[in-house]
């Protein structure tokens, strides 16, 4: 499925909820490299853990706006940074959950 299609589908499935995109990598060095490139291009990105809903194994991911996902994907391709996947998910962040680890 095309990335844009995937994002639209997740948005349709989660009406009224913010949908974020997570960029997944094979290694943290790829993640940090793309992070720098994306920031230098003036786009927003934050370092995140890989959400369990996106992949079963831990690792460094980038949390980005789904509006920028296509552009970020293009930067990765141009600069040959290997991206494993880009996954749209309904908002995963809840500061009032009070579930710690």
């Amino acid at each position: 499925m095309e990335l844009s299609e995937h994002i639209e589908q997740v948005k349709r499935e989660n009406p009224g909820v913010r949908v974020d995109c997570y960029v997944l990598f094979e290694s943290h060095t790829d993640a940090m490299q793309l992070y720098e490139l994306v920031r230098n291009a003036g786009l927003g990105a934050r370092i995140s853990t890989t959400p369990r809903q996106a992949r079963s194994s831990c690792g460094v991911a980038l949390l980005v706006s789904c509006d920028d996902a296509e552009a970020i994907h293009a930067i990765a391709e141009d600069e040959h940074v290997f991206v494993e996947n880009i996954v749209a998910l309904p908002n995963q962040i809840n500061p009032n959950r009070d579930v710690y680890c």
């Binding site: 943290h28 995140s48 853990t49 460094v60 962040i93 710690y100």
Partner: protein, 427 residues
């Protein structure tokens, strides 16, 4: 397919299935606590990366260094002098457990009415669910609180253990005794690493660790600004927690970069909290990674933590070791003098801690103090009333909190902390 850390963990003899349950909860807690914050300093990206793959990146580095012949020493107390290990070309990794996840495994060996830090630490080793505990070539314990002392006896059955004898008083003869103890530890490090520790090497290591102290202190210095709070307490805590197991040179480099950014934020008036947010000094027992509960609750209750008076805070970097000594004996004494200034509740008397807390309250311009102690930590609990009395006499409101690693009391903590912050706002 992502780089599979399972091979690394499997080679370390870890219990992969159980460990996977820990991997499952970390991303959610990290998102809730850190990614919910607005306008975080850019420099936090490094520490976010470390924690996002906390059982992968640094453990892999340690294993790679071991393959080159270096030895890894695990520690549990800010009194253990990293300088000696560094001088022997060893690596130090802090091991204190800060997660409830490890507590049940600790309780298989320890009484339930023991501090969660001790239970979690033993549980992480015995349950085979923490790579750092598997990697270490030797653990360095110390004679601080009774709970840790007795826990080390049990852990010593499972892993090579060296115990440093810490005095419980701070008279000149105690400082001298600790200097002797550091000399003994030097011999131990030489034996484990196979490397001779010369005066030159120790002097160099003293500089490395002093640089780390200065860098961390620079970050804290920016938190003293009364108008701008350039970094949340939660973020500062994460930096401190990771300082315990990161490479000290890289730690200093990253902390200096962050301090540059925070100083710029002050110049530009960039604050992570709205003007007028109540400033809190958090005092008491250490907050080992990933213990973020209290920071998160306080900072989502309308207050900001601007300083931590504990071993995952000021105690880790306050006071430098004198760099002017050129003999090993002179350096042991200089090290002993610096370390013996850490005001831990395991010492008696410990009145200097009260003076230090008062000074910190002033320096960081705090509106109130939250004094916390881990459940069943007798030493800190026993001296809490004396500390709180002096603070109250100085007109500084104080809230006493006893908690552990479970989530059960979160709602109750929110109520109490919310009421305390409201009271500060009415003052």
């Amino acid at each position: 397919m992502a780089i599979d850390r399972h091979e690394l963990w499997g080679n370390l003899g870890m219990d992969l299935e159980t460990h996977d349950q820990l991997c499952a909860v970390l991303p959610q807690a990290f998102g809730d606590v850190f990614l919910s914050q607005e306008n975080r300093p850019e420099g936090m990206a490094f520490w976010d990366m470390v924690v996002a793959d906390v059982h992968g990146i640094r453990p892999q580095e340690l294993v790679d260094e071991q393959a080159k012949g270096r030895k890894v020493f695990g520690t549990f107390c800010t009194y253990v002098p990293d300088e000696v290990v560094i001088a022997g070309n060893g690596i130090v990794t802090g091991l204190c457990g800060g997660s409830q996840f490890w507590v049940p495994d600790g309780e298989k060996y320890l009484p339930a009415d023991m501090c969660p830090l001790i239970k979690a630490s033993l549980g992480a080793r015995m349950g085979k669910t923490c790579p750092f505990f598997r990697i270490v070539d030797q653990i360095v314990g110390e004679t601080t609180c009774d709970g840790k002392k007795k826990m080390y006896e049990i852990m010593a059955e499972d892993v090579p253990m060296y115990i440093m004898n810490l005095p419980n008083m701070k008279r000149p003869q105690d400082v001298a005794a600790f200097a002797d103890e550091i000399a003994l530890f030097k011999a131990n490090v030489e034996e484990i690493t196979g490397n001779e520790i010369t005066a030159e090497k120790l002097a160099e290591a003293i500089k490395v660790i002093n640089e780390r102290r200065k860098a961390l202190a620079r970050v804290y210095e920016t938190r003293k600004n009364g108008d701008v709070i350039p970094i949340s307490g939660t973020d500062a805590l994460l930096m401190m927690q990771i300082a315990f197991f990161d490479d000290p040179v890289r730690c200093a480099e990253m902390a200096n970069k962050l301090a540059d950014e925070l100083e710029q934020r002050i110049a530009d008036g960039v604050s992570v909290f709205p003007a007028g947010t109540k400033r809190i000094l958090l005092t008491g027992t250490p907050l080992a990674i990933p213990n973020w509960k209290l920071h998160h609750i306080i900072e989502t209750s309308g207050a900001a933590i601007v300083c931590e008076e504990n071993c995952t805070g000021t105690k880790f970097f306050t006071n430098l070791v004198d760099e002017s000594q050129d003999t090993l004996e002179g350096m042991y004494q200089a090290l002993a003098e610096r370390y013996m200034k850490i005001n831990c509740a395991c010492f008696t008397p410990n009145k200097a801690r009260i003076d230090e807390v008062l000074q910190l309250a002033k320096d960081y311009k705090v509106d109130g103090v939250i004094n916390t102690n881990l459940k069943f930590c007798t030493t800190f609990k026993t001296e809490a009333p004396a500390l709180e009395k002096v603070l109250e006499e100085a007109g500084i409101p104080v809230l006493d909190i006893e908690t552990d690693y479970t989530d059960n009391d979160a709602e109750q903590l929110r109520t109490r902390i919310g009421a305390f912050v409201e009271m500060l706002s009415e003052k």
